[in-house]
């Protein structure tokens, strides 16, 4: 009996851990194309980029862990083909491995810039360990850095580089940062914070060209502006890594389609984490979520099914981001809200509650961890809430969920 896991980031490693924890007796093979031990991704744009997190603390587990748990960790190997009939996977070194169950934890790959000059040297992306190492290396001789993209990666990279004393310009295509994720309230707060810290944050700008000779010199935007750059960091999103699944004929559509047990259209193959597209029973829509929580929770769902018990996936999504000394925490998914309620404790501490038809669907908190935690406990079934209590910092937030008017 054997279970092969392709991809050894948060989802893949958690799957290997859980298989053993849940008593899986067969062989567990964990395959990674990275050459270093499986690592945490969130610090790559924060503490590890700032060089304040030593490498051994980046690893998800120490090397001895895999031996102790009898997990066959294969580093620096790429799977090139899945044969569903024979139930084998072929590696780029000609090895062919058999599986009874296969878990695809292939993650996502960066979306690349396509404007002229995108292939100049010192145009960096930030997804993998090697990317951050490359950026850290280049930073030694770079002073002016242009960051492209107003998502988590762009914002966190800008904050980290500012902390390192670089001249940072942050170019955002939309009218505000995190525009697809959050409301104006949170976006405006973040814009303000980056500006206060000295980042030159530019909204509504479309990059048209990276200018340079061999190496980048400047970034040009649609309105003719040029921003001087010794280095460019691009954070414009990712696409699900679904090529292997597609090749072997599994259902894919912006991610590898899975059922509530993370099972693909082949019942011996599971897909988890950034690469999986699933129907969320609470939000009642097809989703693909890029987060640590989703990766680890889906790993649990898949391994539970493999070990013979089936518990459908319905976990509450949650996210976090650290920028400067601000902590942003998000629970739930705010898309489709029709009302917001704000609970402001101080200038630097606020919670934004998102409601749809009077049900709480998400909350974003900035430096208000207690509100995040309380909301996260209750939000899983989209509860009705007392809006007056939500907004009133002097009232216990718990009671907004337990004392509903008219119920």
């Amino acid at each position: 009996m054997s279970c092969i896991i392709i991809g050894a980031s948060h989802a893949g490693v958690q799957a290997a851990v859980n298989l053993r924890l849940q008593g899986y007796q067969g062989k567990v093979i964990l395959i990674s194309s990275d050459t270093v031990l499986p690592y945490q991704r969130p610090p790559l744009s924060k503490a590890f980029l700032q060089n304040v997190l030593p490498e051994q603390k980046l690893w998800l587990r120490p090397e001895t862990f895999y031996q102790q748990k009898d997990v066959d960790l294969m580093l620096g190997k790429r799977v090139i083909n899945i044969d569903r009939e024979q139930r084998t996977v072929s590696l780029d070194d000609m090895q062919c491995l058999s599986y009874d169950k296969l878990i695809l934890a292939t993650g996502a790959s960066i979306r690349r810039l396509t404007v002229p000059g995108s292939d100049l040297s010192e145009v960096h992306y930030l997804r993998d360990y090697q990317d951050t190492i490359g950026i850290r290396d280049s930073l030694k001789s770079a002073n002016n850095v242009v960051v492209i993209g107003g998502g988590y990666i762009g914002l966190e990279a800008a904050a980290s580089l500012q902390k390192l004393g670089k001249n940072v310009t942050l170019l955002i295509k939309h009218d505000r940062p995190l525009s697809h994720i959050t409301s104006n309230v949170v976006s405006d707060y973040l814009t303000q914070r980056h500006a206060t810290h000295g980042v030159n944050i530019q909204l509504n700008v479309v990059v048209t060209e990276i200018i340079g000779v061999d190496k980048v010199l400047a970034v040009e935007t649609e309105n003719g502006q040029r921003y001087q750059a010794d280095m460019v960091i691009v954070g414009i999103g990712v696409v699900p890594e679904q090529q292997l699944a597609e090749q072997c004929g599994l259902d894919v559509n912006n991610g590898i389609r899975v059922n509530e047990y993370m099972q693909t259209s082949d019942h011996n193959i599971f897909a988890i984490g950034d690469c999986s597209s699933f129907y969320h029973p609470v939000y009642q829509k097809q989703l693909r979520i890029e987060s640590v929580q989703n990766a680890t929770d889906q790993a649990k769902t898949a391994t539970t099914a493999i070990c013979g018990q089936s518990v459908p996936y319905s976990a509450t999504a949650w996210f976090w981001s650290d920028q400067y000394d601000d902590k942003l925490q998000i629970a739930g998914l705010s898309e489709g809200y029709d009302e917001i309620v704000i609970r402001q404790e101080t200038e630097k501490s606020l919670a934004v509650f998102y409601l749809a038809q009077n049900q709480l669907i998400a909350v974003d908190t900035i430096n208000q961890p207690k509100s995040f935690m309380i909301s996260r406990k209750y939000i899983h079934n989209l509860p009705k809430v007392d809006k007056t209590i939500l907004a009133d910092k002097n009232q216990d937030l718990n009671s907004a969920f337990t004392e509903i008017p008219g119920v």
């Binding site: 851990v17 924890l21 945490q40 969130p42 610090p43 924060k46 503490a47 603390k57 587990r61 120490p62 862990f65 102790q68 748990k69 640590v292 929580q293 680890t296 949650w318 976090w320 650290d322 902590k327 925490q329 208000q368 961890p369 207690k370 509100s371 995040f372 935690m373 309380i374 996260r376 406990k377 937030l397």
Partner: protein, 107 residues
Amino acid sequence: MLNVTFILPDKNKITVAANEGDSLMQTAVDNAIEQISGDCGGCCSCATCHCFIDDKWKDKMTPADDMETELLEGAIDNMQENSRLACQIFLSEEHDGLVVQVPESDW
């Protein structure tokens, strides 16, 4: 190196060797104490490393800061005076022999 003992929810005790400077969360994760999951990697964002510190060690602990306290207050229903987040406890020589009680996962 120092020793730390985790008392698991089933009352089993596991004593492990810890590195000075590591957090208690890191020590637990590295030693497969899976009830302490440390999902956020130790940046005080998720409260999945809640534990109880044996009372006699209280004086040797740096007190919880506001962020940790708020997170605990919001997250934990069975919070006690000795509740801590393991990611915020950094081990030094004086913690040799520390005893930590691990609750059933709150999540």
